[in-house]
Symmetry: C2
Subunit: 334 residues, 2 copies
């Protein structure tokens, strides 16, 4: 499999039955669209929780089945799950700040619903492959760079704890119940179909919106923290490869980028490519400074070797694509 191109990997899903949790959200919808294009039979389960990023416009032009339900809802999910060969388990609450303001809601969605879903898999379809999207956030403040999979896990907020618990549940269901799960710890993802509203989202969507609407991008402190970023199509390629790579089942793999940039460089690039917006330096807000992690970028050697995966889209190209998408569809996202 490591010798296949991304397009060839997508072809492996032709005619297969795939379930995508959180499939109306940012990463989930991009996975669902790629699978539809590849000829898979795709069912989406999405709870459409306000603020979580689910948006029916995200699947405009395609026609997957979709079910509006919490992924842990047995009555709604059992039937489509029982038929699935591949599950792309992407559902979740992603805001770090929100997780500190309503921690119980975060644990409910990112912990309890995930565990309830794994119980459904165990009972109704233990043959399915389950690809779980974890996050590099589980590492917390990096003790060395780049961060590889052996780096200590030490999340700085409730979201990181709940995501890590779900990742461990996937590992335990592999080890104890022999379900073929794999977890990808994904770095900062950007691209079309990401939620732009609310200032509790990631840095890149905030930049994109400010630049397109001509508002200043607020940079906290020096803006010199560095990040690696992945264009969403590269993430989708990694998830599809993990699904069909048996060697990766039971494993945890980073999906990140060797390229890394200061936050102010990302803002600069966005303003330049958008031809609008500006930068404004502001002091760190207290609730953000306390969960800030400093610079972070990740080592994806394991995924490259095991999956034959690598990022193919530069930040400049990805940002250009992203801006073009939102210029056309901004009304869906604001």
């Amino acid at each position: 499999m490591t010798g296949l191109t991304d397009a060839e990997v997508r072809e492996l899903f032709r005619g297969t039955r795939c379930l995508v949790t959180g499939g109306l959200g940012f990463i989930g919808s991009n996975v669902a669209l790629a699978l539809c294009e590849g000829g898979a039979d795709v069912t989406i389960v999405d709870a459409l929780v306000p603020r979580h990023g689910g948006n029916v416009n995200n699947i405009a032009g395609a026609s997957p089945h979709f079910i509006v339900a919490d992924m842990g809802d047995s009555a709604a999910v059992t039937e489509p799950l029982s038929r699935a060969q591949y599950v792309f388990n992407v559902a979740g609450q992603v805001s770090h700040v929100d997780s500190m303001q309503d921690p119980l809601a975060d644990l409910e969605v990112n912990g309890r619903s995930q565990l309830a879903f794994l119980e459904l898999v165990r009972r109704t379809n233990p043959e399915a492959v389950v690809v779980y999207t974890s996050t590099r956030q589980v590492y917390g403040r990096p003790r060395y760079l780049p961060v590889d999979e052996t780096h200590p896990v030490d999340p700085v907020d409730v979201n990181g704890v709940a995501k890590y618990a779900a990742e461990q549940f996937h590992r335990i269901y592999h080890d104890v119940h022999r379900i073929r799960t794999v977890s990808l710890r994904i770095t900062n993802v950007y691209g079309p179909r990401q939620r732009l509203t609310g200032d509790h989202q990631g840095f890149i969507p905030v930049c994109v919106r400010c630049a397109l609407e001509g508002h200043p991008i607020r940079i906290y402190g020096d803006g010199d923290h560095e990040r690696d970023c992945l264009y969403v199509s590269d993430v989708v390629a990694g998830l599809l490869r993990a699904a069909v790579c048996e060697e990766s089942h039971g494993e945890v793999l980073n999906l990140g980028n060797d390229e890394h940039f200061q936050l102010q460089e990302i803002a600069d690039l966005t303003v330049r490519l958008a031809g609008g917006g500006s930068m404004e330096r502001v002091p760190w807000p207290r609730e953000r400074e306390r969960i800030a992690i400093g610079s972070c970028w990740t080592d994806s050697s394991k995924a490259k070797e095991m999956l034959g995966w690598q990022p193919t889209v530069t930040l400049e190209d990805g940002m250009r694509e992203t801006l073009a998408y939102y210029r056309e569809h901004l009304r869906w996202y604001v």
Copy 2:
């Protein structure tokens, strides 16, 4: 504080207001009784969940206040919590096997209720010191021995994941909200007031009951897995020291024992001291073998240095005390 005896440390609590969650259970009741004897004003919160070990007989002879409620129940817990200077947060579900049979119940109790309780602390009494009883189980299968606090965390069952999530919540509430929390990763505890019924409890209480009732103690496989064991009064001493040791707040510390024994040695000792029972070797049951961790004992150097703590009761002495207690009170526990 490191120069004080355990009795002198207990005196530090005279006249203080203490809350003990899970205070009708095994460790919790022993903490509550020690605090009562030391002259503290003690309130117990316990949900008395069947199978979790809460037992009103455990506090016979003492008169702490007690409230039957889930620790996350705001209406019941807010008032006593708001007055507490020290919280001994001992509540939890402890069976590894049960956590795999009803994983959602385990996450509810060990994860969600803990997080709800920390939210109550943050809102109503952020000045309180909170001592949380974590478990050496978070380490999973030891990669080296003895296991110290830097050993990778890799629990083998849902109980370990949920307990670790709660431990991390305590750390985050310290780091972000400045609440003085400390977590103790406790090894196998035994002694008076432990639940004896059900075969989903720990190895030692099963041995004690079998020996006292004259039934054979079932040893899985070779019985050569080794464990360190702590008599409950040594655990209580460690928890009290952590509460008043400011240096330990924000930290995670092992509480274990340099002494370690094969499971068959523990069974032998119990049979010998009890003057009854026998040993029977049986094959590993499948649901236990899959979550077995092999030999495990822990390094408590950090707690010894930071708290001035050390175990004082040998397994032989502790087992003798334990058998004497249950000979007198067996009717409360079977």
